[in-house]
C-alpha cells in the first residue's frame, strides 16, 4: 500500500493517500465526461469565439492600445486563463457537490479500498484536467484568430495546470462546507467574479487605485494571466518563474485543506 509519506515533497504528509486509487477516481469522472464531451467541447469552442468577437473586436474598437498592444492581443491570452478558471470552478462546485451530496458517489467509493483522501485527490486531479483541457481549447481558438505570437505558447498548459489545481482546491473547500447549491452563488459573486474582473484580464493591474493595486497579487488568476499572456505574446522574462513558483507554493500550502474539510463533512 502506498502511503502518503512515500510521495515526494511531504506534499501529502499526514494524509491517507494512494495515488493509483486516486487515479481510479479521476478515471471514473473522465468516463462520465467522455459520454458528453463532444457537446461540451463544442460549446466550449463557441464561447471563446463569442467572447473574442464581443470583447476584442467589438469593445476593442473603443479601447486604445494597452501596453503598446492592440486590445485583442492583450485580452485574448488572459481569457485563456479565465475560461480555464471557470470550467474548473464550475466542475468542482456544482458537479462535485452533486457527486458528494446527491449521488453519494463518494460514499460508494469509500466502501472499497479507496480512502476519502483518494477521492478528494481524484476530484482535484479531475478539476485540474478540465481546466487544462478547456484552457487549451481556448488557446486553439486564439491561435485560429491569429493572436498567438510565439511558439512559447506551447507551454501554456503548464501554468494552466497549476492555476486549475489552485482553483480546484479553493472550490473543493467551498463545496465541502456548502450547505446547498445556492451557496455557490456567493462563491462566484464574492470570489470568482471579482478575480475575473480585477486580476489583469481586462486591464493592467497598474490601473487600479494605489490602495488596492496589490490585491491581485494574492490571487491565482493574476499569476496565471501574467505567465500565459507572456507566453502567447513571446515576451518571456525571468519574472515568470516567480509567478509559477507562487502558484506551486499556493498548491503546496492548501492541498491538504479540502481533504480535511471533506472528511469533516462526510465522516460522522
Amino acid at each position: 500500500m502506498i502511503r502518503g509519506r512515500q510521495l515526494p515533497g511531504g506534499l501529502t504528509a499526514g494524509t491517507d493517500l494512494c495515488l493509483p486509487l486516486a487515479l481510479k477516481v479521476f478515471y471514473r469522472n473522465l468516463l462520465v465526461f467522455k459520454k458528453t464531451w463532444k457537446a461540451n467541447i463544442m460549446f466550449n469552442f463557441v464561447e471563446p469565439v463569442l467572447y473574442l468577437w464581443a470583447m476584442g473586436f467589438g469593445l476593442g474598437v473603443y479601447v486604445s492600445r494597452i501596453n503598446g498592444l492592440p486590445y485583442i492581443d492583450f485580452l485574448a491570452p488572459a481569457l485563456i486563463a479565465s475560461s480555464s478558471m471557470f470550467s474548473t470552478t464550475y466542475e468542482m462546485t456544482y458537479d462535485s457537490f452533486t457527486r458528494m451530496a446527491y449521488k453519494k458517489t463518494f460514499h460508494g467509493m469509500v466502501a472499497t479500498p479507496v480512502s476519502l483522501d483518494d477521492v478528494v485527490a481524484g476530484e482535484l486531479l479531475y478539476g485540474t484536467f478540465k481546466g487544462v483541457l478547456y484552457g487549451t481549447v481556448f488557446l486553439a481558438v486564439v491561435a485560429m484568430f491569429g493572436l498567438v505570437k510565439s511558439p512559447w505558447a506551447l507551454l501554456v498548459p503548464l501554468p494552466l495546470a497549476l492555476m486549475a489545481m489552485a482553483f480546484s482546491i479553493l472550490s473543493m473547500i467551498w463545496t465541502s462546507i456548502a450547505p446547498n447549491y445556492d451557496s455557490f452563488g456567493y462563491f462566484f459573486t464574492l470570489i470568482i467574479t471579482p478575480m475575473f474582473l480585477f486580476s489583469g484580464v481586462f486591464f493592467p493591474v497598474e490601473n487600479l487605485p494605489p490602495g488596492v493595486r496589490l490585491i491581485p497579487w494574492f490571487t491565482p488568476l493574476y499569476h496565471a494571466v501574467e505567465v500565459i499572456r507572456s507566453l502567447v505574446l513571446g515576451q518571456v522574462t525571468r519574472s515568470l518563474l516567480a509567478d509559477l513558483a507562487w502558484l506551486a507554493i499556493f498548491i503546496l500550502l492548501t492541498v491538504r485543506i479540502p481533504m480535511v474539510t471533506v472528511r469533516k463533512r462526510l465522516v460522522q
Partner: protein
C-alpha cells in the same frame, strides 16, 4: 481467502456510537461467524445503519471494541475493506454510466485487472439476472434492477463478508422476492452476510441468527425459530369482541399462555397449542357470557417477538396499548 465456517468474522463488544450528545448505538455485543447470515432487525432509528457504517470503517467507533476479520478497521482500513462488499441503504450507483461500466469502474477501486474485471462482471450480471441490461444506462433501470446491480457490484471483489443495509426497502413485493432469491443463493454458496432490515419476513427467510435492536440497544439474540419459541411460542391466537376483551378471560389457562397483548379491542395470545387454547377460551367465554366475534390462529412470527419485547411494532409507533403481558 474465504473465512472458514464458524470463524469469528465480526466481533463487537460494548460498541458505542455517539453523534454529539446523542447515543445511537448504546454498548452492544454481537458476534458474526463465517458462513452465516446474521441479521440486525429493528425499526427505523434503531441504529442499524450506524453499526454497518462502523463495520466498514466509514464511521469511527466512539468507544468499545469492533474487530473485522480480527483486525481493527480504524487501523487496517484498506486491507479490511478489500475483503468486504457493501450494499448501502441509499443507492449510489453511477447513474450516467452503463450497467457494465458501473461494475468495471468499481472493480478498478479494488485494483482488479481489466480482464478479470470483465470476466467477473459478466458472471455477476448473469447471476443477478441483468445480462440483457449490460449496455443500458443505470438511469433507465427499475428500482429492483438497480438494487440487484448494487448487490452485484458489491460482489466484484469476491467479498468474504457482505454488508447489506436494508437491501429491499422501497421495493415492490415481486422485486423483493427476486432479491431474496439471489441472497439465498449467495448464502448457500457460503458467503458471510450481515443484513439489516425492518421486515420480519426478510429476517426470518434469510437470517441464520439475528439480534433484535431498538433505540440503539440489542434486546435479544438467537435464530428466528429460537426467538419465537422463547418469547411467544408457536402460535398466536387473535380474538376480537365488540366489548373489549379482558385479561381475566385468561385466568386458569396456566402454561398454555406464553404471553399476551391487548391490541385495541383485540386480544393477542401467544401459545404453543393454539387449538387447545382456543377451545378452552371458548368454554370460559361461554361461562362468563362474553361474546367473541372474531377468532383466528396463525403462526407466531418475529414481529410478535418484537411487539412483546417493546410494545411497539417494527414499523414504529405504539399500535399495541395497555400491553398486559402475563408471562
Amino acid at each position: 481467502m474465504t473465512c472458514k465456517t464458524g470463524d469469528t468474522v465480526v466481533l463487537a463488544r460494548g460498541l458505542i456510537k455517539r453523534f454529539g450528545d446523542f447515543e445511537a448505538v448504546r454498548g452492544i455485543n454481537f458476534e458474526v461467524r463465517g458462513g452465516e447470515c446474521f441479521g440486525l432487525l429493528g425499526p427505523n432509528g434503531a441504529g442499524k445503519t450506524s453499526v454497518v457504517r462502523m463495520i466498514y470503517g466509514f464511521s469511527p467507533v466512539t468507544s468499545g471494541r469492533l474487530e473485522v476479520f480480527g483486525e481493527d478497521i480504524g487501523v487496517k482500513a484498506r486491507s479490511v475493506k478489500a475483503r468486504i462488499g457493501v450494499v448501502s441503504q441509499e443507492d449510489n450507483l453511477d447513474p450516467e454510466l452503463s450497467v457494465m461500466e458501473n461494475l468495471l469502474v468499481y472493480a478498478g477501486y479494488f485494483r482488479i485487472n481489466r480482464d478479470l474485471a470483465g470476466e467477473r462482471s459478466r458472471e455477476i450480471l448473469e447471476f443477478m439476472d441483468l445480462a440483457d441490461k449490460a449496455g443500458h444506462v443505470v438511469e433507465s433501470l427499475s428500482g429492483g434492477q438497480k438494487r440487484r446491480l448494487t448487490i452485484g457490484r458489491a460482489l466484484i471483489n469476491r467479498p468474504d463478508l457482505m454488508l447489506l443495509d436494508e437491501p429491499t426497502t422501497g421495493l415492490d413485493p415481486y422485486a423483493r422476492h427476486l432479491v431474496w432469491q439471489r441472497l439465498r443463493k449467495l448464502k448457500e454458496s457460503g458467503t458471510t452476510m450481515i443484513l439489516t432490515t425492518h421486515y420480519l419476513e426478510e429476517a426470518s427467510q434469510l437470517c441464520d441468527r439475528l439480534v433484535i435492536m431498538n433505540r440503539g440497544e440489542v434486546l435479544e439474540e438467537g435464530s428466528p425459530e429460537e426467538l419465537i419459541s422463547r418469547h411467544v411460542g408457536r402460535e398466536a391466537l387473535e380474538l376480537g369482541s365488540g366489548a373489549g376483551l379482558d385479561q381475566y378471560l385468561l385466568e386458569g389457562m396456566g402454561e398454555l399462555v406464553k404471553a399476551s397483548r391487548v391490541l385495541g379491542e383485540d386480544l393477542v395470545i401467544f401459545t404453543e397449542r393454539g387449538r387447545e387454547l382456543d377451545r378452552r377460551i371458548s368454554e370460559r367465554a361461554a361461562e362468563l357470557g362474553i361474546e367473541i366475534r372474531r377468532r383466528g390462529i396463525r403462526p407466531a412470527n418475529l414481529e410478535d417477538v418484537f411487539l412483546k419485547l417493546t410494545g411497539e411494532t417494527l414499523k414504529g409507533g405504539r399500535e399495541f396499548t395497555g400491553g398486559g403481558s402475563c408471562d
